[in-house]
Assembly symmetry: C2
């Protein structure tokens, strides 16, 4: 019985919530879009497999990237090659400096999540469902965890952080209330002590990710 890891790699670029997809070069489903993934090697842990694939596709040192398991899909017949069960992982990456520097860059692209979710036939295998499950997990985790910072650079402004929430949730948030909430929630963000004017207007303080693993109280979606 084959065991594979598939990756849902999400980012936020210019206010757009996007997923990294590859165009399959080999059968089955040759030429169709799919999630990046690969088989687990004999001596390899599941998370190691996921990190290896992540590094291959993004060219980024995967140690600093948030990666978590989402679910496992094992329906007989989900892969025409035979019985393959797939462990899906969710990766949240910042807007990468080099767009897609992986081994097979020509066939990998960032695609808006909303476009892919709106078209259930776009992805090969059962990858549409895997994507939907992973996106829902990401949306839910933004509420009660400081995970939105995983989409930001090391240092970020509060409005950049707000932009992540707005892109992922697809809603508009009040900048003033968001600012209060983000800065007052214990352990969410820590001031760096510097400012930037890169977002225009009055200089904004820079922040770094705080030490908290869960947010009390949570941020609420719309």
């Amino acid at each position: 019985m084959g065991v594979a890891c598939d990756l849902v790699i999400l980012t936020v670029r210019d206010g757009s919530f996007e997923v990294l997809l590859i165009r399959r070069g080999i059968a089955p489903h040759r030429g169709r879009w799919a999630l990046p993934g690969g088989f687990v090697r004999p001596a390899e842990d599941l998370e190691q497999t996921a990190r290896r694939e992540l590094a291959e596709e993004t060219g980024v040192d995967s140690d600093r990237i948030h990666l978590e398991q989402v679910a496992t899909y094992g329906e007989p017949g989900r892969d025409p090659r035979g019985r393959v069960i797939s462990v899906a992982y969710l990766a949240l990456v910042p807007d990468l400096p080099v767009p897609v520097a992986g081994s097979d860059a020509a066939s990998a692209s960032w695609i808006p999540v909303a476009d892919v979710l709106a078209d259930p036939g776009r992805l090969a295998f059962d990858h549409h469902r895997i994507l939907a499950d992973a996106v829902e997990r990401a949306r839910a985790k933004l509420e009660y965890s400081p995970l939105a910072t995983a989409f930001c650079a090391d240092e970020f402004t509060i409005s950049e952080l707000r932009g992540v929430y707005e892109a992922v949730w697809g809603v508009a948030l009040d900048p003033r209330n968001f600012h209060r909430k983000a800065t007052r929630t214990e352990g969410f963000v820590e001031p760096v002590g510097a400012t930037t004017t890169r977002d225009g207007g009055r200089p904004a303080q820079l922040f770094r990710r705080g030490a908290a693993t869960t947010l009390h109280p949570p941020l609420t979606r719309a």
Copy 2:
């Protein structure tokens, strides 16, 4: 590569939060406690495997039982027989009429969750960690889903429902505020129209599980 499903079957009996464990009759780890489980058959879906094992262990028609996937564990070396990855499922069952009517009843027992969690060496394989993850999932889901009703009989009183929360969370809740919260949260419970005096005191209204899948607002732990 072998693929198995392991089951964390939880219940609440007489105010005690308990897990169904079996004493292993064969190597490896013969004679030690473990979670029930078994290998996935070639033409079988993962959830089918879990439901089959659940029916074998509890003797209950598993269609009416809440079952959800928790996580997959695949560290090389977690099973001395070779490379086995295990998909863990969480099952929530009401206090069963026939305690444990499975095929191998003599070796299966309900054990208080707190006792098992307090002793990391009690379970075989990596089952302690699987149990801990599943219990945390169950505790979290009681907050924002109507899942506590899965531990109750078809018809239950509000104080019986409160007893589930108190047992699973290990806290005392205010009966008056809990009553208000449970009955006013849209879709959580619906009145049956009958009463019972089985809990003593003034007759209590009976309720059934409502239609909601998530609770707004959530119940809060302590």
